[in-house]
């Protein structure tokens, strides 16, 4: 596996990055106060899209913004252009990773649409509020935000959070608003992550373009073996993403992804996430925590290889060895793997599942590297979750790993999900403490205390 091919990112991705850097300067000071270099950057963006389907709309939007015609439609097109640049980067990077790993590029399947559902009118209204708020952020500029721009959005966010169809919006906007509020109110010139916030802004804008359509799916049955999981969270939302092999009768193994998420509050962390996530997929958590196969019967699978998890369609089966399974299915990974829908493509969302045997950890404490087969890649410190289930010391002590190959800040990194082999007999992995309802007996008891308060007060109120 020539991971050495991943030491330099593709040239096309770097060119797009330079264009993004210039564009993002306008997000800092705000689109209401554009100067020469900002307008030059917008013009370059326009030229980069000439001859593409977005050219006409983008030309109109850039012209409108330059003469202070502030419509949310213009900003939506701008966000779409920024997202399209990152989509192109994603494609170049996905091809590079697939080449290095000797696998085909994963692509969404074609699934015929089922019956179209009518969209409740309030969803359109809420999304319009979201776009309007995002436009205000863009006009003011991230460096110039104040609480008066931020606080009124809470009312819209409450509504978005109450609508299950807007789960993605709620997760993203809740995290974004929370981050903005940790920086503002600020004294003096605040420090903020410009590139990241421009990312979150663009994604929120594109996601809010129209009401989400239900995913196209078909059902699958067979044996699912979870090879590893990632825990992602901000103060008000937690998500567990499990990656596994699925064996349907008479078919070669394929790779799938399953996601369970729950709203939470800041003081709920660690094993207390277990009971919240179990609400969405207790069986999935048990299968992960106990390394037991899961028998699926007629569970929905989307075009992007995502199982729409349902505990009712899953049964806990026999124990298996996740490292042996990973070695077998990831050696020559099938083309049927999780992917991203066209509008969702972004370099930071690439997650290529890999199995590494005989790896070694090197480098300094805050900049560890993983060397395998003569290639060295950085370990992804930022993505290494804060959990006792998997500690860096265990990553160092083991020799086999299931990881996600990631890209961010112009480089490929490895994010360990599960390690084993070497002196350690039992594998260590993210999510091990979330199964079997363990968090219910947590010493802190924050979840049960808050739930009790909640049922008392919110019932009284209504």
């Amino acid at each position: 596996m020539p991971l050495t091919d991943l030491t330099t990112p593709p040239a096309a991705a770097a060119e797009a990055a330079a264009l993004l850097d210039r564009l993002d300067q306008s997000f800092s000071g705000g689109f209401a106060r554009l100067h020469g270099e900002h307008l030059d950057a917008l013009a370059s963006l326009g030229r980069a899209f000439s001859g593409t389907p977005l050219a006409g709309a983008l030309g109109e939007a850039l012209e409108g913004i330059s003469r202070s015609e502030f419509l949310d439609r213009h900003f939506l097109v701008l966000a779409a252009a920024r997202a399209a640049l990152q989509g192109a980067q994603h494609d170049a990077l996905a091809a590079q990773a697939a080449g290095a790993l000797g696998r085909a590029v994963a692509k969404p399947e074609e699934i015929p649409a089922s019956a179209v559902q009518a969209v409740p009118p309030q969803i359109e209204v809420w999304l319009e509020s979201v776009r309007h708020w995002l436009m205000e952020l863009g006009l003011a500029g991230f460096a110039n935000l104040d609480v008066n721009t931020l606080l009124p959005f809470q009312a819209t966010l409450d509504q978005v959070e109450s609508e299950p169809r807007l789960g993605r919006h709620a997760a993203l906007l809740g995290g974004f608003l929370d981050e903005l509020l940790t920086v503002f109110p600020a004294r003096g010139t605040p420090e903020f992550p410009l590139f990241r916030w421009a990312d979150l802004w663009s994604r929120a804008m594109v996601l809010s373009a129209r009401a989400p359509a239900p995913a196209h799916t078909y059902t699958v049955s067979g044996e699912l073996r979870i090879l590893g999981a990632d825990l992602r969270q901000h103060e008000t939302f937690a998500t567990l993403v499990a990656f596994g092999s699925l064996r349907e009768k008479g078919k070669p193994a394929r790779l799938v992804r399953a996601t369970i998420s729950a709203f939470k509050v800041d003081v709920i962390q660690g094993e207390e996430l277990g009971p919240l996530l179990a609400d969405a997929g207790a069986t999935l958590l048990d299968g992960l925590a106990q390394s037991k196969a899961l028998q699926l019967s007629d569970m929905a699978l989307t075009a992007t290889g995502d199982l729409l998890w349902s505990d009712k369609a899953a049964k806990l089966g026999a124990a298996f060895d996740p490292l042996a399974e990973a070695a077998e299915v990831l050696k020559a990974a099938p083309a049927a793997r999780p992917s991203l829908a066209a509008a969702d493509r972004h370099p930071a969302l690439l997650e290529e599942l890999v199995y590494l045997a005989g790896y070694k950890v090197g480098g300094k404490e805050e900049a560890l590297t993983i060397t395998v087969d003569g290639a060295t890649l950085p370990l992804d410190h930022d993505r290494f979750p804060e959990t006792d289930d998997l500690a860096l010391i265990e990553v160092k002590a083991c020799s086999e790993m299931v990881a996600l190959l990631r890209f961010d800040a112009d480089r490929w990194t490895l994010q360990p999900l599960l390690v084993g082999g070497g002196a350690k007999k039992k594998p260590k992995f993210i999510g091990a403490s979330l199964g079997g309802g363990k968090g219910k007996k947590s010493k802190l008891g924050a979840l049960s205390t808050l739930k009790e308060r909640s049922s008392k007060l919110l019932r009284k109120k209504s």
């Binding site: 993605r168 995290g175 990241r196 994604r203 802190l444």
Partner: protein, 161 residues
């Protein structure tokens, strides 16, 4: 990594993270709109809660029941509810972050306990509507009751801790 590369980062572990704590006595603590504010349970009446806050900059503070009845313990200095709020805030956010947020004169290198921070609260009692803080608490509680979901949420790739 070059300077351009480090600035081109989509995923960054937040520099300041809230920490888990017991929430029996002080169910709600937050840094919001320039205030440290929260809800503190009454020591004597199970059904009564106090709404307390410290304001950044001015150092003003207040404590009342959620029905806007002023706290009896509140005179020229922070009452026991405000002290409890500061104690739990130190657990949740750490002293350095509070010192910075509230613009306190305490030394972030040596201040550890709530007492070290309360000494630098220079303002006086200044009434705000308890309802505003209390409705934040209800929104907060609402989050533990919202339904879970099994939809794919690719956006959570941006959030790590």
């Amino acid at each position: 990594m070059t300077a351009a590369a480090t600035s081109r980062r989509s995923v960054i572990r937040p520099p300041s993270l809230a920490r888990p704590r017991k929430v029996d006595k002080v169910p709600f603590v937050e840094l919001y709109a320039g205030r440290l504010q929260g809800v503190v349970s009454s020591g004597s009446d199970e059904d009564r809660v106090y709404v307390s806050y410290f304001e950044s900059g001015s150092g003003n503070f207040f404590c009342s029941t959620n029905n806007n009845r002023p706290c009896g313990g509140l005179r020229g200095s922070p009452c026991k509810h405000l002290q409890a709020l500061m104690t739990e805030a130190v657990l949740q956010y750490g002293a350095p972050r509070l010192i910075n947020y509230l613009s306190l004169g305490a030394d972030p290198a040596t201040a550890r306990a709530a007492y070290d921070l309360l000494r630098f609260i220079k303002g006086g009692p200044h009434k705000v509507e308890a309802g505003m803080v209390f409705s934040r608490f209800l929104t907060y509680l609402h989050h533990v009751g919202l339904p879970s979901t099994t939809l794919p949420i690719p956006e959570m790739n941006w959030f790590v801790r």
